[in-house]
């Protein structure tokens, strides 16, 4: 594996641009997620309008993979219905587990497919899935 297959331009951009890194003025819920072994620590805030996720943002710190994965997830999930978001979460987590996805599923994930190569790096999987598991907690209960 090569550096540019993991730390792609898109991942680097998302980990640094911080466009989804903010505090919501109005939020319905928030959830903190962290990887105790490596110190990635994020907090997601969510705002619903009807059944739709009208706003989603994060604060926190961690490695480039965890921060980029969080930001890419927010781009993907914002504006979606809750059920749709849950479905996308499952598809993403399957991809990171190494499951072969269909063309249609890959398309649904959009930019998040750049994280696919993380499935070949067991030591970094937890960085990539942190935000997605945190969101699952936020939507689940």
């Amino acid at each position: 594996m090569d550096l540019n297959q993991i730390y792609t331009e898109l991942i680097m951009e998302h980990s640094y641009n911080g466009k989804n890194r903010r505090v919501l003025e109005e939020k319905d819920r928030e959830e903190r997620g962290h990887n105790p072994n490596c110190g990635d620590d994020i907090t997601l805030q969510i705002k619903f309008t009807g059944g739709r996720i009208s706003d989603l943002a994060y604060t926190g710190s961690g490695c480039a993979i965890s921060q980029a994965s969080t930001s890419i997830m927010i781009d993907l999930i914002k504006g979606k219905e809750k059920e749709e978001a849950l479905e996308l979460l499952e598809i993403f987590l399957e991809m990171i587990k190494g499951t072969e996805l269909t063309e249609e599923e890959l398309e649904m994930l959009g930019d998040a497919v750049v994280l696919k190569n993380i499935s070949y790096m067991p030591a970094r999987v937890k960085c990539a899935v942190l935000a997605w598991h945190t969101l699952k907690g936020l939507l689940g209960s």
């Binding site: 594996m1 090569d2 550096l3 993991i6 730390y7 331009e9 680097m12 072994n37 490596c38 110190g39 990635d40 710190s61 961690g62 490695c63 480039a64 993979i65 790096m121 030591a123 970094r124 960085c127």
Partner: protein
């Protein structure tokens, strides 16, 4: 794999190359590396550069061969049967204990208890000594630089026994001053638990002075030698430690075997930690009397192959000489520190001089998270540690979230350092310039 197997079955192989000592009477790591089959493996298609020795060390042929030989020819359940293999296994296990006793200069074989690792050794002391002899309002004193394994068992003891946990803090260079020690040890201090060498900063603590001072105040001292012993050695008699613990896998030996040294009088008064087979004399339906030391603390079938491997590791280290190994690590540390100090995007933690320190350097690369850095250098075949190094209280104290750590041993070379620095440059450039 067959190629390696054929080699390591010859235990005498390491003697070619005079144990890696050059004509200048110093270690020649390029020769020594040939004793370690792992360096024939490719990582990411490249030569392995192993800089994670504070986590675990690699094994030389004689250690691999000794374990192999035991399993091929001598395996039996020790202390039980009258048959050849049981007797043979007992003999090898006892010899390994004697080897350990001589290596750390304990007075008696009764003072050497085999455990799984340092963590289990500390837990044995915590549960057997701590839970029975530490009283309400007693103080257990730790340094802030302790590994989690030398913190958590004491938190349990303190909670259970209503004792107080207190910490000694480090100065700005990561050193533990005697002033701080004297401020913290009081007449209430029952036990001081301290590492010989910090696994994060590499600082070596003045354990002899601390032990003497603690003893004057009536406190016992446990020294965590996991990080210190493989590089500095120990003379437990001269040191006068009450408890001294370490693991084989950080000194070229196998995983799954560690040691607790304790003063015989303490072990005599402590109750067994675990009970079952091998640690008994007579058992009736309701009662049992315990075996004498050291078996009293070794319930169940022991890890004989581990003990055999540890003994082989001790022989290997002795043949080279710990003083030469330490000097080699210090030479490498001097070389690395000198170069690293000049790199503006590196932040180094711990002392920058060579006084009372070992071959461990913790650092961060500006704008590159330690975990990203570890993944990137791994692509170059370089193994280093990133994270909190099982020492979260220390990192909190230093106000560092996570760091990278390199740690040297006898087989590391200046080339390893140079290649690491090239790889750091590449990572930094990728994160800052995007190429």
């Amino acid at each position: 794999m067959n190629r390696v197997a054929a080699n390591y079955l010859d235990p005498y192989r390491s003697q070619e190359g005079s144990y890696g000592i050059g004509l200048d009477n110093k270690i020649n790591p390029y020769l020594l590396k040939k004793d370690f089959p792992i360096f024939q493996e490719k990582v990411q298609g490249r030569d392995l550069i192993y800089l994670d020795n504070a986590a675990t060390t690699q094994k030389p042929y004689p250690v691999i061969a000794a374990v192999e030989k035991y399993n091929q020819a001598f395996h039996g359940n020790p202390h039980r049967g009258a048959h050849y293999l049981s007797v043979k296994a007992t003999e090898l296990y006892d010899q390994a204990r004697q080897k350990v006793q001589e290596f750390i200069k304990a007075r008696s074989r009764k003072e050497i208890i085999f455990t799984r690792n340092t963590t289990e050794s500390i837990n044995l002391v915590a549960y057997s000594y701590g839970m029975n002899f530490i009283e309400e309002n007693d103080e257990i004193l730790l340094s802030i630089a302790e590994h989690h394994s030398n913190i958590l068992p004491w938190q349990q003891v303190a909670r259970s026994r209503r004792a107080r946990l207190k910490y000694m803090y480090l100065d700005k260079d990561g050193r533990l001053s005697m002033d701080e020690v004297k401020r913290k040890i009081s007449n209430k201090t029952k036990l001081v638990c301290l590492t010989q060498m910090s696994n994060v900063l590499g600082t070596i603590f003045p354990i002899k002075e601390i032990i003497d001072y603690a003893h004057e105040r009536g406190a016992l001292v446990l020294i965590d030698g996991a990080q210190g012993l493989p590089h500095l050695g120990v003379d437990v008699g001269e040191l006068d430690a009450d408890f001294y613990v370490f693991s084989a896998h950080k000194m070229l030996g196998p995983t799954g075997i560690g040691v607790l040294y304790a003063r015989e009088s303490l072990l005599e008064m402590m109750p067994p930690f675990q009970s079952g087979g091998d640690m008994i004399e007579y058992v009736t339906e309701d009662t049992a009397s315990f075996a004498p030391l050291p078996e009293k603390f070794e319930a169940g079938t022991p890890n004989v192959e581990g003990a055999v491997g540890l003994a082989a590791a001790i022989d290997y280290l002795n043949n080279i000489g710990l003083d030469k190994i330490y000097q080699h690590e210090i030479d490498l540390t001097a070389y690395a520190l000198e170069k690293m100090k000049g790199i503006p995007y590196l932040t180094l933690y711990g002392p920058l001089d060579l006084e009372d320190r070992g071959g461990i350097i913790s650092f961060n690369v500006d704008k590159v998270h330690p975990h990203d850095l570890a993944s990137i250098v791994d692509l170059d075949g370089i193994a280093l540690r990133a994270g909190h190094h099982c020492a979260q209280p220390l990192l909190n104290f230093l106000q560092v979230g996570a760091s990278c750590r390199i740690s040297f041993y006898l087989y590391n070379t200046k080339d390893d350092v140079d290649k690491l620095l090239e790889s750091l440059e590449r990572a930094r450039s990728w994160f800052v310039n995007g190429s």
